[in-house]
């Protein structure tokens, strides 16, 4: 995984499958960044990932809870069909917003 900070937004680029193994790694790296960089919003970028299971739901909901207390928002971009299906079936799309690209998400966050 890779992270980028743009203003008060953290972009998490998921590399490979988002399963329990990777969820633990992402959780740790994301939380350090959220604290250190005074992060308000989080973008999960799935451009390098084509699989997610229920562990992915846990890690995304966890980050959402962390930032939403301070009014932050979480979203996911570049979803393939398989990941999109997990979003729909689990109802995750009701909490984690969905945009086509990182730029679209940033534009939306900055428009607040």
């Amino acid at each position: 995984m890779q992270v980028k900070v743009k203003g008060n937004t953290l972009i998490i680029i998921v590399n490979g499958d988002l399963d329990h193994h990777n969820a633990e790694i992402i959780k740790n790296v994301a939380d350090v960044n959220i604290m250190e960089n005074k992060i308000r919003n989080v973008i999960f970028d799935f451009k390098n990932s084509s699989f997610m299971d229920s562990s992915g739901i846990g890690v995304m909901m966890g980050r959402y809870k962390l930032i939403s207390n301070a009014g932050g928002r979480a979203c996911a971009v570049n979803l393939n069909q398989a990941v999109e299906r997990i979003f729909q079936i689990s109802g995750l799309h009701k909490v984690i917003e969905k945009y086509d690209t990182v730029e679209d998400a940033l534009k939306e966050f900055n428009a607040e």
């Binding site: 490979g16 499958d17 399963d19 329990h20 193994h21 969820a23 633990e24 959780k27 699989f51 299971d53 229920s54 562990s55 739901i57 846990g58 890690v59 909901m61 966890g62 069909q81 398989a82 299906r85 997990i86 079936i89 689990s90």
Partner: protein, 143 residues
């Protein structure tokens, strides 16, 4: 070719790294039935949930062996995933959507629900202190 039965036996160490290995191997085995992309992803998700369940709950992060048995019979894939871990005291409760004994560890409680949704049949046998066996069935080309 699909008239005969084909079998796959696999034993893996209970480690989170092996979750991806398990779903790749099982989906490669299932590829003999010429599944659609959606069916492949269904199988991968269900296997991932079952193996993760053994790693996190069965062995609670400790050492252990997870057994994966697959069988193809006509257009049906059978996948059994078992561990000799702590077992589940109340299987019915564990299978409730959103139920999790590890909410503080950010487990969504969707594992069994996903196995149920993505496969055509799911049965779970478990005994406290003895282990858990998850039995799943997927009909390929069933829709």
């Amino acid at each position: 070719m699909n008239s005969k039965r084909e079998k796959l036996y696999l034993e893996i160490e209970s480690k989170s790294e092996n979750e991806s290995l398990a779903r790749v191997i099982v989906s490669a085995f299932a590829a003999r039935l010429d599944p659609t992309l959606e069916e492949v992803s269904d199988i991968k998700t269900a296997v991932s949930e079952a193996v993760t369940n053994s790693v996190i709950h069965g062995y609670e992060g400790n050492e252990g062996i997870i057994k994966i048995e697959c069988e193809i019979e006509k257009n049906i894939l059978f996948v059994n995933i078992s561990d000799e871990g702590v077992g589940i005291a109340d299987v019915k409760q564990a299978m409730q959507p959103l139920f999790s004994t590890k909410k503080d560890e950010e487990r969504s409680g969707m594992g069994f629900s996903f196995m149920e949704i993505f496969m055509d049949e799911l049965n779970v046998e478990s005994e406290s202190g003895k282990g858990t066996k998850i039995m799943m069935k997927k009909i390929i080309g069933g829709k």
